[in-house]
Amino acid sequence: MAVTRPVPGRLARWAGAAPVPVHVAVGHGGDPVLAQLRADRRVEVVATPRHATVLVVAGHVPEAARTALHATHDQVRAPRATVVVGVEGTMVGIPHAVSVPRTGLVDGLVAVQHDLLAGDRDDPSIGPDDNPVAWQGVGPHGQGGEGMMGGVPWGRPMAMPPVEGRDGLALDRLALRLGPFLAGLPPLLVVDVGLQGDVVEEVAVEPVPADEPPGSMGTDGEDRPSVVITELVALAELLALVGLAGMAVRVARLATGPVTPGDVAGLRRRLDRPLGLRTATDGVGRLDLSGRAGDITARWRAWLDRAAAAAAGDRVPPTGTLDLDALAHELLGMELGAALLSLASLRPQLAAATALPAVAA
C-alpha cells in the first residue's frame, strides 16, 4: 500500500473537520446506504469520483459490473480509500477496501478520512497505469493523420459522421456509454447514447445482468428496502440531479427516519412551491409508457402518493417493471439532460428491472 506524506497537524485538524467527500457506487439494494450518507452532515455525497476521496460501494455489485467498478475506483483522486458496506472487499474485487458495518458507516468514513490525512493510507490503482492503445497518428509527435481530423488517437476514432450533411455542416455523432455508476442514473443501468449536439439520436437502455436471484441481495442480510425508502431515495437523487442539493439532503433525512403521512404532505407542499422541484420538471420528460403518460412532475407526485400510502400503513402495489425498448424509443429526440432526468424519474421501476436475474439466451 502506497503511503503518502501526512498533512501537517493543524491543517489536518481543519481538513478532518470537513465533510468526507464520498462517491457512492450503488449496487442492488444500496438505496438505504445512499440515503444514510446523503442525510449525514459529516459526509458530502459528490457526483463523480474525481470530487471524492472515498469510494463507497453500497449494495451488491454483480460480476458484470466489476470492471466498471474498478474503473470508478481508479478515478478517485489520490490519496484515496474504498469502503464497502457490510461485506468484504474481496466480494467486489477490491481486496484493499475497508469493510464497515452499516451501523457504524459514517464513523468509519470519518476514521478513514483521518487515516488519509495522516498519510497512513492510499489505495493503489487496480487497472493498468498505461494506456493499452498507443496513439496512432502519423506526425512526429504522434499527432494527426489525414488532414486535421485524421488518426486514431489513443485507439479511439474521431466522432465523425459517415456522410456529410447538407452545406458540409456535418455534426459529429458522439457515442457515450453512460453508467452503471453514474450519479443520478438508476443503479446498475447502462445507457448507450448517440448524440448530435445534445440531442439524443440513438439510445439503448440495458441493465447490468444480475448474477444472483433477487431476494438474497441487500446489505447486512437486510430485506429489500421499503417502499418509503425506495420512493424517497429516488426523489432525493432526482433533486440532487436538478441541483436542489439542500432539498435532496432534507428528503434523505426523511427517508432514514420513521415517516408519517404528514411529513410526506409537507414535503409535497415544499416541492410544489414556485422555484421548487416542480419548476424544474414541469413539462420535461413526457413519456407514454404502457398507457401511463405524463411528465417528470407526474412521476414524482406518484412517488409521494405511494410513500404517503406506505407511511399510513396501506398496502402499496409493487412497482411495475418497464419495457426498456419502448422506453428507449420514447427517449429519442430528447435533449441529453431531459433524457437523463427522465431515467432518474423512473428509478424505482428501473431498479426493479435491473434486479431481475439475467435471462439465459
Binding site: R50, A71, P128, D129, R156, P157, D172, L176, R177, L178
Partner: protein
C-alpha cells in the same frame, strides 16, 4: 549618466532574478499538479465506469450561430447606416449604390437564416 546606467542594470537584473525564480518555482511545483503524474486511468473522462468510445475532439452545434447571424444582419447593418445617412446627401447616387450592394450581401444572410428556420416564432 553612470547612475542611470546602474539603475537600468539593476532593473534588468531584478527582472531576470524574478523571472528565473518564477520559472524554477513552476518547474519545482509542477509535480503536484502535473496531469501526467497521475495514472492513465485517472485521466479519462468520467462516464460512470465505461471508457469513452470516441475521441473527445469533435464538431458540435454552435447554438448561438443563428443569433449571431441575426445580430450581423440587422444590428450591424443599422450601425453602418447611421454614418451613411449623414453623408448620403453629400455623396448622392454613389452612396445609394454602395449601400444597395451592402444590403444585398447582408440579405443573403437573412435568406439563409430564413431557410434554417431562424426567423420562425417558437
Amino acid at each position: 549618466m553612470a547612475q542611470s546606467m546602474l539603475g537600468a542594470f539593476l532593473a534588468v537584473a531584478t527582472a531576470t532574478v524574478v523571472a528565473a525564480t518564477a520559472v524554477a518555482g513552476v518547474a519545482l511545483w509542477r509535480r503536484p499538479v502535473d496531469p501526467t503524474a497521475v495514472a492513465w486511468s485517472a485521466t479519462l473522462p468520467w462516464l460512470g465506469g465505461h471508457e469513452p468510445e470516441t475521441h473527445a475532439w469533435n464538431r458540435f452545434h454552435a447554438r448561438y450561430y443563428p443569433m449571431t447571424l441575426v445580430l450581423l444582419a440587422f444590428e450591424m447593418e443599422m450601425m453602418f447606416m447611421y454614418p451613411w445617412a449623414v453623408v448620403f446627401a453629400e455623396l448622392g447616387t454613389k452612396a445609394l449604390v454602395e449601400m444597395a450592394v451592402f444590403l444585398a450581401l447582408l440579405s443573403l444572410g437573412v435568406v439563409y437564416l430564413w431557410r434554417e428556420g431562424g426567423l420562425a416564432w417558437q
